[in-house]
Amino acid sequence: MTEYFLLFLSAAIVNNFVLSRYLGLCIFFGVSKNFHASSSMGLAIISIITMSSMLTWVIEHFILQPLGLYFLRMIVFVVVIAVFVQLLEMVIKKFMPTLYNIWGIYLLLVATNCVILGVPIINSEEHFTFLKSTVNALGSGTGFAIALILFASLREKLQFSDVPKSLEGLGIAFILAGMLALAFQGFSGMIPL
């Protein structure tokens, strides 16, 4: 039990996806302009990441490895995740229209994204068991959501501050992300792996 908890904590905070592994930056800078969008995005990421990492684990262990097709995993993962997200979008649109209104559009945005593809690859490189890879995915998604929501709140405050002209927009956003990453750096070494 402790092992799983530590794995979750390590994926969520110590090796935070955005702030220490630099993945998913397009989304991180793209949707963090307002708080509501970023919290819906966080939810979408957590759910898709978990489901797609379960799916790719099953495919890897029951199809690719018995057939000796391990080297094709990149191609298979990309296609499977893209198809899965499309299907999920259709199902939600049909059966849960209210939910679709809240985060439907974000689903397609994340279909081919480095975070979503990154977690299955890490799982397969570390040879995690099914339970471990699910916990890892859940942790990574949560970490991404935490970073995104924190950053969105910081950026809302930033709108009222006086920034040098040439740093406005993306420039100051990067420096702010650097400061946030500096704060997260404090967690490094907390969990010996």
């Binding site: 702030l19 630099y22 930056l25 191609i75 990309v78 593809l117 040439s166 740093l167 420039g171």
Partner: protein
């Protein structure tokens, strides 16, 4: 012909990293030294060029409705080839680049060039466009990598530049430094663009007076 123009537009005017702000993940992740940055840049250049050639060759065969999945499969295949080659011949670099190498598959810049340019142009211009964009990407990566390695480690390409009196701030080659360095580079580019604009307006105004 215009081929030279297609090549040079990727270097500065439409530089993928600084101008289009695409594919930033690798720009931060593997630029803690110049060698890795160069390796990543050349890999991406190879992938963009090959993918542009393949998309442009088959542009009349692919049905527009399924074009994005087809492009993604094409990119994933080329990346797999590149990974196998790197693993066989440059195992150290392969290990350093790690997961970011597999994630070349989802780089926005590669899909964007296929969609915007290669799908509408003949093979040779598409190839040149890929080479130019790849070169621009490499240039951006090496610039960031150079700045970070010089400040954060006092060396360039592994050679010690600054003497032992220099105590490098390690933070520049760690995660937060990457964000901050890119932030300042974007700021500097905005500033230089603004200066250029002002200059042009001034000369235009002077021309009007005459």
């Amino acid at each position: 012909m215009n081929l030279w123009k297609e090549f040079t537009k990727g270097l500065i005017a439409e530089n993928p990293i600084f101008r289009l702000a695409l594919s930033l993940c690798p720009a931060l992740a593997v630029t803690s030294n110049v060698y890795n940055a160069l390796g990543m840049g050349l890999t991406v250049m190879f992938v963009i060029t090959c993918n542009n050639i393949s998309v442009s060759t088959f542009r009349n065969v692919i049905h527009p409705k399924v074009r994005v999945p087809v492009y993604i499969i094409s990119i994933a295949t080329i990346v797999t080839v590149a990974m196998l080659v790197l693993e066989a011949f440059l195992p150290v670099l392969f290990k350093e680049l790690g997961i970011y190498l597999s994630l070349v598959v989802v780089f926005a810049i590669i899909l964007a060039r296929a969609e915007v340019f290669a799908a509408k142009n003949k093979v040779i211009p598409a190839m040149v466009d890929g080479l130019g964009m790849g070169a621009g990407f490499t240039l951006g990566m090496v610039t960031i990598g150079g700045i970070r390695e010089i400040i954060g480690n006092g060396s360039f390409f592994g050679y010690q530049l600054l003497g032992s009196w220099y105590h490098p701030p390690l933070i520049v080659i760690l995660a937060p430094g990457g964000f901050i360095v890119i932030g300042f580079i974007i700021g500097a580019m905005n500033l230089s663009e603004k200066r250029k604009k002002e200059k042009m307006e001034k000369t235009a105004a002077a021309g009007g007076n005459i």
